[in-house]
Amino acid sequence: MTANTPKPAAADALASAATRARNELARLVSYIVFGLSAVYCAWRASALPASRWEPLGAGSFPKLVFIVLAVLCLFAAIKSVIDIQRNGGMPEAVYAFGRWLKIRRISFAIYGLLVVYLAVLSTLGFSLATFGFLLIAQLLIAGVTRRTVIQSVIAALVFSFGLNMLFADVFNVFLPRGVLIAF
């Protein structure tokens, strides 16, 4: 097994068999999503114009790839449906999805923060946006206490304004500057 991310051992033991059944529903959804996207992309690719210079146009290779993907997804989806039925059906799976989300609440919160951060990066500028991101993310993970607030402010300052200065002054690499503030 070459997954680069073995989960902590305790959680793993609890998870194994039961989680497998629950995750199967989510996986089925992913097969369907990937399969349909593949069909759409294959269709788009086949609309690409042929080339005057070569036997294979721009569309041939992507078309081949996406058709293979669609077939693989179809195959996986069928297998998955059989598995879910064998393991006791839907209601269990829906309940499990709630738990699945709960375990990952901070992960998704951080991701949401990352999205907001990237969105405001070119308006606020690297330093300010990064400072905000780091501060909130650190407190989100560690929880708010006097100690963590002080630590987080310091770390956030160093890695936002400090990093930007390092890159701009030493390396001459200019990270996105804000519209409002020229840092």
């Binding site: 070459t2 989510a26 375990i103 993970i141």
Partner: protein
């Protein structure tokens, strides 16, 4: 000849050259150790400085950055589970589990020694066999490249983890993602859905960071049961320098095989370190007596990947030194810096500038020793990373990823892509899709397509793929590889059924 050798040695062993090289080595290691920052980035930052140096001095410094960079990627691979550079993807497979099992020092040490020996072996091959190897490499046409990539794609079977079908789907998604953007022949937009964001395509580095780093970091803050804020790795352990050196040398077959894979892949212009580590890992796994232990923290996995990627340093110089053909982006920058100094890099380099070529051999060797010394001396410092609590590591590394993704092409659009790909990567990870095949697909897809189309433009006849001997050889190897994989999956399945447990 001896004269030129001493002249080269004299220049490399000058005090200021050695000092600059040392700084370069540290810079390369640090840059590569930070996820998102790459060797290429470090080299570009070094380039303007070398304009002011003597040619050999400039090249030596760049080689020091280069060698350091091929090792540095190991540090974040082992300690964070995130490949620090594209060439350390396979290092995460075993070095990270090993670190999580309480042996971070051993994991780093194994990687450093394997890198060191990999570089040395590749330098030896470079010195002894560069011209003939380069001639073979340059003769390879699009047919051979396509067949080689077909063979390389079959190693997906070694990377699939729990589920063959999800591994295949991930690999094909990778191939598909790589088709977005300008088509490799005509440069016309393809599958971009008229979005500015997609028009330059998905840069490989952005996919790599998004898929591995963002997903891994988000995974770190999942709350299983009680909320925990401790460090990522349980405890910091000794580096065990000499003991591990013996351990690495005790695997001569793996070491030499992986290094040769690195040399050969490195010598092929356009392939490079990002494939070599995966191929070397695959070969090590296949010839192992205990393939099921790969991925759980086996020393052979770390050695194969690190020896494989470091050996591409010497391998990449083979076509550069003997023919003046750069094997990778980094080699192209090396060549440009020589050209600016009036050194014409071409098939006559070794005749016209023998001192320079010998100097490069010496510099490469010196650089690998420097890397070793720097790593051994500073490993304790790096291991301190394991003491830093999550709340600092996770957001800060994310910022580094953002900077790395931006600094690559200075495009803000790439950052939005990073966000999207990061989410996709995290979801795929949660659903137990293996991620390595996806990255492999993104690397190999464009090479396969370009060469397939180029081959058919050169000659419309499909049978040429079979009539050119080297191409036919690669295709045969691909077929054998598939047969071998099917057989071993079937075997594992049979064993598994005995103990119950479905392999989906």
């Amino acid at each position: 000849m001896l004269d030129a050798f001493f002249q080269g040695a004299h220049q490399v062993f000058a005090f200021d050259t050695l000092l600059y090289m040392l700084i370069g080595s540290v810079a390369g290691i640090v840059a590569a150790a930070i996820p998102g920052f790459t060797v290429t980035m470090a080299i570009i930052l070094t380039l303007p400085l070398t304009f002011a140096m003597e040619p050999l001095q400039g090249i030596s410094v760049m080689l020091a950055v280069y060698v350091g960079g091929y090792t540095g990627g190991l540090i974040s691979a082992a300690l964070l589970g995130i490949p620090g550079t594209p060439s350390s993807v396979a290092t995460t497979f075993d070095a990270f589990p090993m670190a999580r099992n309480g042996e971070p020092g051993r994991a780093l040490s194994l990687g450093v020694w394997a890198s060191f020996f990999g570089t040395i072996i590749s330098t030896l091959v470079l010195i002894v066999a560069a011209p003939p190897l380069a001639i073979v490499a340059v003769r390879l046409g699009p047919w051979e490249y396509f067949s080689l990539i077909v063979f390389a794609l079959t190693i997906v079977a070694s990377l699939v983890g729990n589920s063959l079908i999800r591994g295949l789907i991930a690999g094909v998604i990778g191939l598909g993602l790589a088709t977005i953007g300008p088509d490799p022949m005509m440069g016309r937009p393809r599958l971009t859905f008229d979005m500015d964001l997609l028009s330059p395509g998905l840069p490989f580095l952005v996919v790599l960071i998004g898929i591995f780093a963002i997903s891994q970091l988000l995974g770190e803050v999942e709350v299983h049961g009680k909320k925990v804020n401790h460090a990522l790795i349980p405890k910091s352990i000794d580096f065990k320098t000499w003991e591990v050196m013996r351990e690495v040398l005790g695997r001569p077959v793996n070491l030499i095989r992986s290094s040769m894979v690195g040399v050969v892949i490195g010598a092929l212009p356009g392939a490079g370190g990002s494939i070599a580590n995966l191929l070397a890992y695959d070969q090590a796994k296949r010839s192992s007596k205990t393939p099921e232990k790969f991925g759980q923290g086996i020393a052979d996995g770390v050695v194969a990947s690190e020896a494989g990627n470091s050996a591409t340093a010497g391998g990449g110089l083979i076509p550069l030194i003997s023919l003046g053909i750069p094997g990778s982006a980094v080699d192209a920058i090396l060549m440009a810096s020589l050209m600016v100094h009036g050194v014409s890099v071409g098939p006559r380099l070794i005749l016209d500038h023998a001192d320079l070529v010998y100097g490069m051999f010496i510099a490469l060797t010196v650089a690998s020793f420097m890397m070793l010394v720097v790593c051994v001396a500073s490993m304790r410092l790096f291991l301190r990373v394991t003491d830093i609590p999550k709340q600092f590591i996770v957001p800060t590394v994310m910022i580094c990823c953002v900077i790395g993704a931006f600094a690559l092409n200075n495009r803000v659009g790439d950052l939005y892509l990073l966000g999207i790909i990061g989410l996709v990567g995290y979801i795929l990870k949660c659903l137990d899709y293996p991620l390595a095949p996806l990255v492999l697909g993104v690397i190999l897809g464009p090479i396969a397509e370009t060469n397939l189309r180029r081959a058919l433009m050169s000659d419309g006849d499909w049978t040429v793929f079979l009539t050119r001997p080297i191409s036919a050889l690669f295709l045969a190897a691909a077929v054998l590889s598939v047969i071998f994989s099917i057989r071993s999956i079937w075997k594992a399945h049979k064993k598994d059924n005995g103990q119950k447990g479905a392999v989906v």
